[in-house]
């Protein structure tokens, strides 16, 4: 998995200050999030439940209306696309959900579910379509006698493979995996991760891989972005993130996930405040309440998104963070 950086004109997917709120602005789900996914690369989007990860995924697919910001797919803002352009974009972006048993239409056979996108996007002739479907099933490790069965006749692992096949059948450039392995058993999870790794290598598909499990992200992602209460706190290449995480929250997540030493007992304030976004004060850092390295300034003003400068040219512009611990002057030696 070479991680050399190719610089096409635009990144495959770029979010600029995306904001989403529910129940007409009273509850902010996503607050000015910006990140980009390069062609053939996988970005891991990490965060606790309720951090807004799924809302971002649904906004990209226009299942949810965004209040502000842009979602650029190959340089074009998805929200301003006309029907023809939107149809082409929708063909190129697909999604795999968390619950395999709820991702397939129960009353339709596997064949019908797999053929539906091809028919909708009018790809190829009927014979070509069934050939494509059979080929895709082989890629996900299923043989084509599954075609005439109904979803409830399969195991969770097989259902998730069928869901992945459905996402791949229109040859997408980007697949959003929304906690796609979180509800699978360890051995099934490993098989699906193995499948995704082969898809990354052989087909060069870009993944926006959403998960709350850092170990899974480590296994599969080229870059990592951390979200907390609707805001993007840090984005970095995987190797940098897992060796020297910049943001205190990233450090906390890493120490929790590695379980090697007992975690700092969370202070009561965070304990009694139910997770999810309710009373968010715009004028302070969103993580100030729970931060172990909190400073007075964190309570007064919101940290801007700054890029950490690196000596070697290759790393320029790939690591940014929103925290008062850092400002424009920090130069990282590596």
């Amino acid at each position: 998995m070479t991680s050399q950086r190719t610089h096409p004109a635009h990144p495959l997917l770029e979010l600029r200050n995306l904001s989403i709120s529910f129940r007409d602005r009273r509850q902010i789900a996503v607050d000015r999030v910006s990140f980009s996914v390069l062609k053939g690369q996988t970005l891991g989007l990490v965060g606790a439940s309720g951090a807004g990860k799924s809302s971002v995924a649904r906004a990209i697919l226009r299942l949810v209306q965004a209040d502000g910001g842009e979602i650029l797919f190959k340089g074009e803002d998805i929200h301003r696309m006309k029907s023809q352009q939107l149809m082409a974009a929708r063909q190129r972006i697909q999604i795999v959900f968390q619950e395999p048993s709820r991702s397939l239409s129960p009353k339709r056979t596997v064949a019908e579910s797999l053929l539906e996108p091809l028919q909708h996007f009018a790809i190829g002739s009927p014979t070509e379509r069934s050939r494509k479907v059979k080929k895709i099933l082989l890629t996900v490790g299923l043989d084509h006698d599954v075609l005439h069965h109904y979803p409830h006749q399969f195991s969770t692992g097989q259902k998730q493979r069928i869901a992945i096949a459905r996402a791949l059948v229109t040859k997408p450039d980007l697949v959003i995996a929304d906690e796609a392995v979180s509800s699978l058993d360890v051995s099934v999870q490993a098989q699906i991760l193995q499948l995704i790794q082969t898809l990354q290598a052989e087909y060069g598909i870009a993944f926006l891989f959403i998960s709350h499990d850092l170990a899974v992200i480590r296994q599969i992602a080229d870059g990592v972005a951390v979200m907390y209460r609707g805001q993007l706190l840090e984005q970095a290449p995987a190797d940098t993130f897992f060796s020297q995480p910049a943001h205190p929250y990233s450090r906390l997540l890493l120490s929790l996930a590695s379980l090697d030493e007992p975690s700092p007992v969370l202070n009561h304030q965070q304990q009694l405040n139910p997770d999810g976004i309710t009373n968010h004060r715009p004028s302070a850092c969103v993580y100030s309440a729970g931060c172990a390295e909190v400073m007075p300034v964190c309570g007064q003003s919101e940290p801007a998104r700054i890029e950490i400068k690196y000596k070697n040219q290759n790393m320029r512009g790939s690591h940014c963070v929103r925290c008062h611990l850092y400002d424009e002057t920090n130069i990282n030696e590596t």
């Binding site: 649904r58 697919l61 299942l63 939107l86 149809m87 929708r90 063909q91 697909q94 999604i95 959900f97 968390q98 619950e99 048993s101 709820r102 991702s103 397939l104 239409s105 129960p106 009353k107 339709r108 539906e116 996108p117 909708h120 996007f121 409830h152 459905r166 229109t170």
Partner: protein
């Protein structure tokens, strides 16, 4: 649907109900095709003749054969039941699906308002009003029932569509840009087929029972005979000790309704078991 059929076969009571309905349905078909119960109006004997070889169930006040009338009435019952059930279930399913899909939009609130209004008009008054408005039209009763029976089906289907709309396979369909119409009819409604079936059997029972009372009120069947009319007639005969008409109509009605209720219960259990699986 296929899994329900196997489960239904394994449930004794459900099958019993199904066979009872089949027998009555056969009788209705024979009547419609003119092979049975055609001489229900013919005066072929004395008043209130008791059970005999010529009149298996005896005769009524006018000397008409009660057996013929009972058989013809089963055809009337199916005519009322089927027409009301099919129309009201269709109406209820479509409006329920629309209300559910466009939840808390103006369309949803509008459908809920219409439903609320129709639910709050007392049914028999409504039927009387419709009968007035259509001046004794043969289909007044059926229309009144269709207009008011769809509301329960709509409420249940609306709840189910709201639940199904959040399912990931619907979001996947929306993500590739399928229009709502296709998603509703291709993905959402087929998953409610169970509920529609159970609700249809319940509406069928309600339709037949309502016909009986409407006929008693003089608003029901205008031409032909039905169990309701027979019971209305028998309400006087019974005081004079002649139970033939009353017995025949009530037993036939009771059996058919037991058949449908057994089937409805069995379908309901089959659905609950299936739902706990999915």
């Amino acid at each position: 649907m296929e899994s329900v059929w196997q489960r239904l076969r394994s449930d004794g009571y459900g099958m019993l109900g199904f066979y009872i309905i089949a027998v009555f349905a056969l009788a209705a078909l024979l009547v419609w095709s003119g092979l049975l119960g055609q001489s229900w109006a013919v005066v072929s004997g004395g008043r209130w003749e008791s059970i005999s070889s010529t009149h298996w169930f005896g005769t009524n006040l006018l000397g008409q054969d009660i057996l013929q009338r009972t058989l013809f009435s089963s055809a009337t019952a199916f005519e009322v039941g089927l027409s009301v059930t099919i129309l009201s279930t269709l109406l209820g399913t479509v409006l329920g699906a629309l209300a559910g899909w466009f939840r808390s939009s103006w369309l949803d609130e509008l459908i809920l308002w219409v439903k609320g209004v129709l639910d709050s008009i007392p049914f028999y008054l409504f039927a009387a009003a419709i009968a007035f408005a259509l001046q004794g039209n043969r289909w007044a009763m059926h229309l009144a029932m269709v207009i008011t029976f769809w509301t329960t089906t709509a409420r249940i289907i609306r709840g189910e569509v709201i639940r199904l709309k959040q399912r990931e396979f619907v979001e996947a369909a929306r993500a590739i840009g399928l229009p709502p119409r296709t998603i509703i009819f291709r993905h959402v409604l087929p998953n409610t087929s169970h509920i529609v079936l159970v609700q249809a059997t319940i509406v069928f029972v309600a339709a037949i029972k309502t016909e009986v009372i409407l006929s008693f009120l003089g608003l029901g069947i205008q031409n032909g005979v039905s169990w309701g009319l027979m019971l209305a007639e028998s309400s006087q005969e019974v005081l004079a000790g002649h139970f033939g008409n009353f017995a025949a109509a009530s037993i036939a009605l009771f059996l058919l309704l037991v058949g449908f209720n057994l089937l409805a219960d069995s379908l309901q259990d089959a659905m609950d078991k299936r739902r706990s699986v999915s």
